[in-house]
């Protein structure tokens, strides 16, 4: 049995897939007539995929996409020649031809490539804007996290995808991991009692921005298109040190802060707190114990802390209720206040990675037009929570937030930090 079959046949995944995300297109459920004699998917069932900015993380995502039978990757777009060529070599090698098309400028890619869906794994700086341009061009989008740079971008992302009717899946793949979902079920099902506190590992709380680096000689545009790389970020001279996915993470005004793991872990906490359509209403800066926090309208407290975690792997979360708690992380292990919470299951039975589940969910929704697990609404709200927390940390004061109007209450300075002018010629 191939590894792929093992991964995708997990009972738990089938059991937990959302209705519209568990469509006929799930591998075992593709209509037989859609499959050729060799098991290949018929051309009419294929999803033509293109990628923008595929580097380290993007390569992993691309591998997951290529595992799926109906995905046919046709085009790569990157401002960096070395990366364009690297992806082309990989794809051409897989398909045994020279057909993978390369683009430097995403506008040409969106206009000419003819893809159905786009995998966006550039640096954080471009995530939102490229998602929006792709949606306006009629493409469905799988976009890595952090998906936005500030609150205004988060709102724009949701608005555009709603208006265009395109499918958006944020790369917070932990929403599709069985052990994370098990922990969420405990939080939702009352087994922990009334939920009181949710904990997220932010992966850092510092709010450092990229600023203006020392200028270096511009490289040839064909090698690195610096102007395109800068995207919505205000202009600054070429600096090789800025060629990183970290560039402008969390926006240029406030900076990365909790957007690193926070976009994953806060997202899970939003889910646990049943707050997918809202965001916390109060935010508090970093306390003496090194934690930042927020409070939802339903009374649940969100704690962002880098320390104090059980050894359960990266991106841990912890949900505490009046009767019990659960903590888990990327090892897929779970620690619980009582073994009874497992309801007789073994932790190993619950399962964990790979991220294919999340990509499968996206592809199913591309076909069904249903809402993926991290759809535009979910992604926008969890990012708003992260950005608002970052602003409270940056200003070092408690803030009140109206999640309906999406504005801070009685704090002009905080409200100014909700957005950052987008550099010409780009717009949302």
């Amino acid at each position: 049995m191939s590894d792929k079959v093992v991964r995708l046949s997990r009972r738990r995944f089938l059991k937990t897939a959302a209705v519209s995300g568990a469509l006929v297109a799930a591998p075992g459920l593709i209509p037989a007539k859609a499959l050729g004699k060799d098991g290949a998917v018929a051309p009419s069932e294929r999803i033509l995929l293109g990628g923008i900015g595929i580097g380290g993380r993007g390569s992993y995502d691309l591998g997951c996409f290529l595992d799926e039978p109906e995905v046919h990757f046709t085009s790569i777009c990157d401002v960096r020649a070395d990366r364009r060529e690297g992806v082309k070599n990989r794809i051409d090698g897989k398909y045994g031809n020279k057909d993978c098309r390369m683009y430097r400028d995403f506008r040409e890619f969106l206009d000419k490539s003819g893809v159905d869906a786009v995998l966006i794994t550039t640096g954080s700086n471009w995530h939102c804007l490229l998602s929006i341009y792709s949606a306006k061009a009629g493409k469905d989008v799988y976009c890595e996290k952090p998906c936005t740079k500030n609150i205004a971008e988060s709102i724009a992302l949701a608005d555009v995808f709603r208006r265009t009717g395109r499918v958006f899946q944020g790369g917070m793949q932990r929403r599709s991991l069985p052990h994370m979902e098990f922990a969420i079920e405990l939080a939702h099902g009352g087994k922990l009692g009334k939920l009181t506190t949710v904990y997220a590992h932010p992966g850092g709380l510092g709010t450092h921005t990229s600023g203006w680096g020392q200028g270096e000689a511009d490289p040839p545009k064909e090698q690195i298109d610096w102007d395109l790389f800068l995207g919505s970020a205000a202009w600054r001279p070429f600096n090789r040190g800025l060629l990183s996915s970290e560039f402008e993470k969390g926006g240029g005004m406030v900076g990365g802060g909790n957007l690193e793991w926070g976009s994953h872990c806060v997202d899970l906490c939003q889910w646990a707190a049943e707050a997918d359509d809202t965001a916390p209403v109060e935010y508090f800066p970093i306390e003496k114990d090194g934690t930042a926090s927020a409070r939802y309208a339903n009374g649940v407290k969100l704690v962002l802390r880098n320390n104090g975690w059980l050894p359960l792997g990266s991106c841990p979360v912890r949900f505490e209720g009046e009767k019990g708690w659960v903590e888990t992380g990327d090892t897929a292990k779970l620690m619980l206040s009582s073994p009874a919470l497992l309801s007789g299951k073994k932790v190993q039975e619950i399962g964990g990675y790979p991220a294919n589940f999340h990509i499968r969910n996206f592809l199913d929704c591309v076909k069904s037009r249903g809402m993926p697990r991290v759809n535009y609404q979910v992604a926008a709200q969890s990012h708003i929570a992260c950005h608002a927390s970052n602003i409270a940390i940056f200003l070092n004061r408690a803030l009140k937030y109206d999640p309906v109007k999406n504005e801070f209450i009685g704090d002009d300075e905080a409200n100014r930090l909700r957005s950052e002018a987008i550099r010409d010629p780009w717009h949302v």
């Binding site: 009972r11 089938l14 059991k15 209705v19 519209s20 568990a22 469509l23 006929v24 075992g28 459920l29 209509p31 306006k136 061009a137 009629g138 208006r163 265009t164 009717g165 921005t209 990229s210 600023g211 203006w212 680096g213 020392q214 205000a234 202009w235 600054r236 600096n239 040190g241 800025l242 240029g252 005004m253 104090g308 059980l310 050894p311 620690m335 073994p339 009874a340 497992l342 309801s343 007789g344 076909k367 069904s368 037009r369 249903g370 809402m371 200003l395 070092n396 004061r397 002009d412 300075e413 409200n415 100014r416 930090l417 957005s419 950052e420 002018a421 550099r423 010409d424 010629p425 717009h427």
Partner: protein, 716 residues
């Protein structure tokens, strides 16, 4: 020169504003005065001959504190292709009409990208007064300018913007028309939000009947349906019947957004006419639409449709089904198609409602064959205690498969009053190995659920007295799953039993204990065991507790000391060192340094100590003294030159580094960040590094560290 001064001013201002916020002592009036002073300085920077980088940083600061007074200076940068974006960062967020006025007035003076940026900012600020000026830009020769003007008008919205865009829809060049359509749909959304649904529908109709890219048509069609609410259903039906796959897909999206019975009826009506592939998609849309009145049609589709439709229906029933779905799902759960059967069983397990529970429990006594096995599984999945008497009977059925399924169900659903059934089964050890295994697992599962752990433990302990050794081992496993005081006593006693098998099981199970109260039992075992194997196992189990379990820092430190004391071998002591490194603290550092006195552990313990010191950013004399005790890495460090900054902006920090170098390769600064330790940020907003030239024991070396990295000088 001016640049350096500017940077110093900017740095100082940032530091001051942060400090003022932190102490919270300033009154609102004082804050205003401070902000005004800050704004004045920043405006001066913009007006000066300062470098672009300084002006850019000043713009960022003005985004926070700028007022209408800063507008002229910011506006002066809008023609600078490099600084215009920075200026607009501030301009977009200054809440004063002076900004709008200034941006409007600049429309006639700029062109190209700079003009595009300003138009975007006007759109962002929703400046209604700019409609006329933007309308003129729709006819600009620059396609990009005209296009962003159209979108900006859409963001502004209102009757005037809508009228302008409608007029431009047929009159503009094809290259701009797509953006005009986008602006129109944006306006329509705003009209709908303002309660003008007829107007919104009219605009969308106009767009969808224009020659445009398909995506624009789809957006307008969506808008036209949603604006009409229930009256939009006929158009929805048109899409549902479209041969164009994209329009059909759009219908699936809109159907999920458009509430009401009309939508349900439209979806159901199309269900009987559509191809199997489309049927599946329609069923999923019905499910997401969430109207239970569609159930009969969905069930009918499952009866008459191919497998692909059946599977989809079953998935939908998982969410929308009720007691009326039980017969269909049970039939599918007994199907020979394993995938279909599994999906149906999962759906049955997920259906909500006491009626569903009753329907399943009622069917069990009368069922046979595969349906009986499915029902038994459901008793466990749904924890149907009312069905337990029937399950107990099934546990003695002639059919092994039925017995296995019944035992599994008992594990998930049996209550305390009936747990003796499972205890008895395990104590008697069934002859069939598969059945014995199922009974053991069921008992463990049941034990995990018992609330009265002490009484349950007493029952298990009593059963152990007359059981044979293999059964006693299984009962010990159940006690471990149960947990609690009595269970721990029994397992602890087993670990000291004279029977090797019992002792082995007890010792092993203590290593899996899930609460910290096992700690003293393990210490006692480690101290008293005469068998090295069990002694080591007890020590390792104890180390597992302090490595994995949450506890107060001082408690962990105490346990680490105990673990070190009861560990006779270096291997276990090294495991303790790992724990110390995982949970760094001053206590941990003390223990690591003490351990470094053991010759065979000197290197490991020293490395652990250094790692801890790094993690706790040990700057206190206490840490320095402890590190000095290590006495292995004492080196002579001479800092020859140290600089901190970026590019040409470097600050001499040699003196600070010299103070921090105290005979170790690790240099611990007095503050948490380089900026704080070195007296400020020499290059705000840039990536900085620390460069050190040094001599270690007379040998020259050079090292570079990125901002805030730990300063561990490599041996030259």
């Amino acid at each position: 020169m001016f640049t350096f001064q500017t940077r110093v001013i900017l740095s100082a201002m940032i530091a001051c504003s942060t400090l003022a916020v932190a102490v919270g002592a300033a009154t609102a009036a004082e804050d205003k005065v401070a902000d005004k002073k800050k704004e004045t300085i920043l405006i001066a920077v913009l007006k000066s001959e300062a470098q672009s980088s300084d002006k850019a940083m000043a713009c960022k600061q003005l985004a926070l504190c700028g007022t209408k007074d800063a507008v002229p200076a910011l506006m002066s940068l809008l023609a600078d292709e490099h600084l215009a974006g920075w200026a607009r960062i501030a301009l977009e967020v200054i809440p004063d009409p002076a900004v709008d006025e200034a941006l409007r007035s600049s429309l006639g003076k700029l062109n190209g990208r700079c003009l595009i940026g300003v138009i975007n900012s006007i759109g962002f600020r929703h400046d209604f007064k700019a409609v006329e000026a933007l309308a003129a830009k729709l006819r600009d020769n620059d396609v990009e300018v005209a296009s962003v003007a159209a979108v900006a008008l859409g963001h502004i919205g209102g009757d005037a913007a809508a009228m302008t865009l409608e007029g431009a829809l047929s009159g503009t060049a094809p290259a701009v028309r797509s953006a005009v359509a986008e602006g129109c749909v944006l306006c329509a959304e705003k009209q709908l939000a303002a309660g003008k649904s007829d107007e919104a529908a009219r605009i969308c109709d106009l767009v969808r009947k224009t020659d445009l890219p398909k995506q624009r048509i789809r957006e307008a069609t969506r808008g036209a349906i949603l604006a009409r609410k229930a009256d939009g259903v006929p158009l929805l039906v048109e899409l549902l019947q479209s041969a164009d796959k994209q329009m059909f897909n759009l219908a699936l999206t809109v159907a999920r957004e458009l509430p009401g019975k009309g939508t349900t009826d439209a979806l159901v009506s199309e269900l009987s006419k559509a191809s199997p592939e489309r049927q599946s998609l329609l069923i999923l849309a019905i499910a997401d639409h969430g109207d239970a009145t569609a159930m009969p049609a969905v069930l009918q589709a499952a009866k008459t449709g191919p497998d692909v439709v059946k599977v989809t229906v079953i998935k939908v029933l998982k969410r929308l089904g009720n007691v009326s779905s039980v017969p269909l799902l049970l039939e599918a759960a007994a199907d020979e198609n394993a995938s279909l059967a599994a999906t149906a069983t999962e759906a049955l397990a997920s259906l909500r409602g006491k009626e569903v529970d009753a329907a399943i429990a009622d069917r069990l006594p009368k069922a046979d064959g595969k349906v009986r096995k499915v029902l038994l599984q459901l008793v466990g999945d749904r924890v149907l205690t009312a069905a337990i008497p029937d399950v107990i009977k099934a546990a003695s059925d002639a059919d092994l498969q039925v017995r296995l399924q019944a035992l599994t169900a008992l594990g998930y659903a049996v209550e305390f009053k009936d747990i003796a059934v499972l205890i008895g089964r395990v104590a008697a050890t069934p002859e069939n190995a598969e059945e014995a295994q199922a009974a053991e697992k069921a008992l463990k599962v049941a034990c995990q659920r018992m609330s009265d752990t002490e009484t349950c433990a007493a029952k298990l302990v009593a059963a152990m007295e007359s059981a044979k050794v293999p059964a006693r081992v299984n009962l010990l496993e159940a006690l471990t799953a149960l947990g609690g005081k009595r269970a721990l006593e029994a397992v602890g006693a087993a670990a000291a039993n004279s029977d090797t098998d019992i002792q082995d099981a007890g010792s092993r199970l203590l290593g899996e204990w899930m609460t910290l109260d096992a700690a003293p039992v393990l210490v006692n075992l480690a101290k008293t065991s005469s068998d090295t194997k069990f002694e080591v196992r007890a020590v390792r189990a104890y180390i597992r507790l302090l490595r994995q379990f949450p506890m107060r820092g001082e408690d962990r430190a105490e346990m680490c000391r105990t673990a070190m004391a009861i560990s006779k071998r270096d291997a276990e002591k090294k495991l303790v060192l790992e724990v110390l490194q995982r949970y760094p603290s001053l206590d941990a550092l003390q223990l690591a340094c003490a351990t470094a006195k053991i010759a065979s552990l000197k290197d490991d313990a020293s490395k652990t100590a250094l790692a801890i010191a790094k993690k706790i950013r040990g700057k206190s004399p206490q840490v320095q003294e402890l590190l000095a005790q290590l006495n292995q890495e004492l080196v002579k460090i001479e800092i020859l030159k140290a600089e901190y900054g970026a590019g040409a902006t470097m600050k001499d920090v040699t003196d600070t580094l010299r103070k921090g170098a105290r005979g170790f390769p690790l240099i611990v600064l007095e503050a948490a960040t380089y900026n704080d330790a070195f007296g400020g940020d020499p290059a705000p907003g840039t990536i900085k590094e620390l460069k050190i030239e040094y001599r270690m024991n007379g040998k020259s070396g050079k090292a570079r560290f990125t901002e805030n990295a730990e300063i561990l000088l490599p041996k030259p």
